[in-house]
Amino acid sequence: MSGHHQHEETTMSPYAARIRAIEALLLEKGVLTEPEVQDSIAYMEARSPANGARLVARAWVDEGFEELLLSDAKAAARQLGMEPEHPAEFVVVKNTPGVHNLIVCTLCSCYPRAVLGRPPDWYKSFEYRSRAVREPRTVMREFGFEPPENVEVVVHDSTADVRYMVLPMRPAGTEDLAENELAELVTRDSLVGVNVPRL
């Protein structure tokens, strides 16, 4: 085991080393307790894009649920057993044949973590954050999706106290799929809007 530990130390990035040092200090000074750290890790790990996929799939098969998701997304999430507790608002925006939504946080990395967990690394990159507002169509093309010219592209910059998620359109040809099969089509990228679900 000591050999493994040594390996870990030599490959730790400077950022990881720094955060370990800060964590050790916070514990030592009693600002945090070990159980609090573990609870926090468990909180984040219990959240993933699969939660968003479940919300979307339910909305696709249940019009009433879609209505709730669009008007009170936290209530909709709670209805499926999620705990979207976070001081920020949680808002879901709907793609239609005429409108395609894209989410970004130009100032930092605001993301509906209380439902979807941690954002992908690219979401936090300077490149995505600066280009998504300025050339959203080019960015989406690079992710493999090109909205038709006549579709309005709507960018949501989560600058303050709202976290956004996209409700994508249900792909054609999925009429016979069950709700859990539909959820499998819903990728994290489609919840941010850089791509769309495909069969």
Binding site: E89, T106, L107, V133, R134, E135, P136, R137, E149, N150, V151, E152, V153, V154, V155, H156, D157, S158, T159, A160, D161, V162
Partner: protein, 97 residues
């Protein structure tokens, strides 16, 4: 100063330093109030350990992409929403769909 949905507004071109939640690319730009989101403790104060009180009104503000970028390529109706606090807004002209 408070606004109603549909009002035309301009984002103040202020260079206030620190933890501001209004991105630089919107400063001085005109748009419209899409919705009133609600009242929240001011994040510009919260960030420095203050109470953030009194709460400030937060608006969902819409901007035409062509009003934000001279060289924007895409549908003329392409637009952007950002959440902007009341103290960053003043009555404006233009900037509507």
């Amino acid at each position: 100063m408070t606004f109603e949905p549909g009002d035309r507004v301009r984002v103040l071109p202020s260079a206030k330093p620190g933890h501001v939640r209004t991105p630089g690319y919107l400063k001085g730009k005109s748009g419209w109030i899409e919705a009133v989101i609600g009242e929240f403790p001011n994040p510009e104060e919260l960030a420095y350990g203050h109470s953030g009180l009194p709460e400030r009104l937060l608006y969902k503000v819409g901007f035409l992409q062509s009003d934000l970028w001279d060289d924007y390529e895409g549908n003329a109706e392409d637009h952007l929403y950002a959440d902007v606090y009341e103290h960053w807004l003043e009555p404006g002209e233009g900037g509507t769909r």
